[in-house]
Amino acid sequence: MNIVVCAKIVPVSSVTIQIDPGTRRMIRKDVSQELDPQAAKAVEEALRLAERHGGSVTVVVMGGEDATVGIRSALAMGASAAIHLSDPALAGSDALGTSKALAAAIRRAPFDLVLCATESSDSYTGLVPGQLAQLLGIPPLTFATALTVDGNTVTIKRQSEGGYDTVSAELPALVTVTTGINEPRYPTLKGIMGAKKKEIRKYTAADLGLGPGDVGASGAREHVLTVGRPPARPPGKTIRDEGDGGKQIADFLAGLKLV
């Protein structure tokens, strides 16, 4: 089974994300990057499937040159190969441009299953997986909390408000995984050293047959109009227990019609 994982490389979690007020885009230059923890879960799920059923795991990443460290993390976890879409012409792509580039790269080799995080942990749009499935002409199975493959059928437990739905589709298909699906393995020393021998194929927009009307800032049809901080939350109510704390809490909750 040939599994493709679409991964994003994001600023490390200890960094406070800054927004460029001019472009209203996240400042990524000179910011330490890592494999998105959400994408690591998709990589982990792909590795488990490959261990169970055989096959390969290829990680596809769109990002600048500084994405290499994150790509190597995925390879050190055990992915077989990586594709790096790196080209100044791709910078500034919106979600659809990103999906077009990923789809063009994925189409270059046979695949059975595409795995994505439900959304990235830096921009949280969650738009790419659906667009990608549409462009690839395959069914999207979303919000998977568990995933199995049996023969030519992929089945997921799809997270819902009241529990989960069981959903299946014929391969090839695309599945988005949720945060709770697994705990990803971490790269070991052996994995890190082994990753140096693994292939990272690099493609430009031109290699993928994409022009300025498809990708990059010029191809973007989605524009960020404003970026602002959320309004400050009102202070909470402090209840001091002087013998009637329980009653005060009950009265407070009753006032909110919660009890």
Partner: protein, 66 residues
């Protein structure tokens, strides 16, 4: 000396240490075997870093030093 490649390699090491600690910390009370394994993996990485054999770290895939 290719300092960029060395920086990248050391970043990989730090990220691996960070990932190992993140994986183990939630299981300190319920999975001592997992925690012990993570500690051993961290120790292995740190020992190699302290050895400082940069040529080996940055060696070509065929084993020759960079």
């Amino acid at each position: 000396m290719n300092t960029h490649a060395l920086d990248e390699h050391l970043k990989e090491m730090v990220l691996a240490l960070h990932a190992a600690v993140n994986r183990a910390m939630p299981h300190v009370n319920d999975d001592p075997a997992l925690v012990d394994q993570a500690l051993r993996d961290c120790q292995e990485i740190l020992e190699v870093v302290l050895e400082g054999n940069v040529a080996e770290w940055l060696g070509d895939p065929d084993g020759s030093p960079a």
